[in-house]
């Protein structure tokens, strides 16, 4: 449980003035994910250096405040990160970025950007076995 104040300052304000909002074109990773439960949508784009560092992040989305705030935090977290480190991001890492306790169904909203990253990298970099880490 958390207070309305926490929710307003942490979630709603982040969702209303998101970081790194706007898609990159062209991009090295371009992936859109939906949460079929509620229709949340996250479209994540990355520019990745030849040495495997995430140099630019851009995203757009629609949906509940938690999915959008989480993607905003997540996008800033990714900036400057190596793909090797990105590969090791866990669900807990993403939930920690929000820092508020969430019920399992809300966690799915928060984890949507991680799903977009991992499934995007599966398509572009042949990463495998990503389903288990996000479901």
């Amino acid at each position: 449980m958390f207070s309305a104040d926490d929710y307003r300052t942490i979630i709603l304000e982040e969702a209303r003035s998101p970081q790194h909002y706007g898609l990159l074109k062209p991009a090295d990773l371009d992936h859109e994910e939906h949460n079929p439960l509620c229709g949340d949508q996250v479209h994540l784009t990355l520019r990745i250096d030849p040495d495997g560092i995430i140099r630019e992040v851009g995203w757009e989305g629609a949906g509940c405040a938690i999915s959008q705030a989480s993607t905003s935090f997540f996008s800033d977290h990714l900036l400057g990160m190596s793909l090797d480190d990105a590969r090791r991001i866990t669900r807990e890492d993403v939930l920690d970025l929000i820092g508020l306790p969430l019920m399992p169904n809300r966690q799915r909203c928060a984890l949507l950007p991680l799903k977009a990253l991992l499934l995007g990298l599966r398509d572009t970099h042949g990463w495998e076995q990503v389903e288990d880490s996000i479901e």
Binding site: M1, A4, L37, C38, G39, D40, G63, R106
Partner: protein
Amino acid sequence: MTAMYDVESVRAQFPILSRAHQSGQPLVYLDNAATSQKPERVIDAMTRYYREYNSNVHRGIHQLSEEATAAYEGARKAVARFINAGSWREVVFTRGTTEALNLVAYAWGRANLGPGDRVVSTVMEHHANIVPWQLLAAERGFDLVFAPLTPTGELDMDALTALVSGGRTRMLTVAHVSNVLGTVNPVAELAELAHKHGALICVDGAQAVSHQPVDVQAMGADFYAFSGHKMCGPTGIGVLYGRRAVLDATPPFMGGGDMIETVALTGSTFVSPPYKFEAGTPSIAEAVGLGEAAAFLEELGREPIQAHVELLTDYATERLSTLPGVSLVGSPRTRSGAVAFTVEGLHAHDVAHWLDMAGIAVRAGHHCAMPLHTSLNLTASSRASVALYTTVAEIDALIDRLALVQKELL
């Protein structure tokens, strides 16, 4: 509230309604369109089956099997009375509404539909009444069309009539009550329309049976599908009513034990309805629970339940519509059970989350009706849905909390 209907004594029969919620507030359960709660007598009837006469049906030559068969078939007769079927043979037990609608598509549809034929449905349908027909249309090559809605969220009867009367319409498949808009469709009128044009009508009654009297014969339904769990019965059991002549002419759905007359390696013959459509060991405890739920609703009285549900639906509609920043989804003339709404500046999921933090359970999302939401330009809505045990005070709690959420978050 009518003097006859004492909602507090109804509530007292539902153990779950007095459970604690993590918020410390009383549970306000307004997600009845997703599933209803179960009265103690339904739970007890199922427990009794497992404790006292658990056995397979239709095959054992022993006392327990005789008792289980009597209870299982007794439940079928209770359900037949509940919807005024012409015969118990017209009541097929399924796993739920979804399986019942799939049965219609795969057994009746596969045998009767092909290129040039048309199935008419509507934009307000639950996915269970869309996807099976899409899957079958891809296989059989018939035409699947959807009647549009009016701006108030009712069927556009002129457009629907044009769709049914044009082309070779073989089936009109439609919800009795919309699970999002709460719209009550004029199913008897629709049955007449379908029959006039040589088509059958299949009615998805999932949202209707618990809230109003249902008479499949008066309605003129050829098929009528519903679930146990939305009418105070258990999950895992549902019903497909089929008119006897239609069931007789429909080939089996799934093959296996209980549905055969003779089996030879060169081929098999099948028994009469309903058994022709009930392959394998059925959900016996669940059928017993469903029969008990039907008896429970009959004893409370279908008309008093309908009056209560409609009064609460109207009250919720009226109070929600007076909240600034809250928009109702649809404004049908007759609304039963469900009221969907959006809150300006807040996503449906966030609304549901904040209501839950005060013990109020609503649904958020597209409610398995994505085409409807798309047609309304919505990605999601929140939905409050009432039941025979919902109180005016619970609706007031919803409204107060919504007003507080808007104040605190916006």
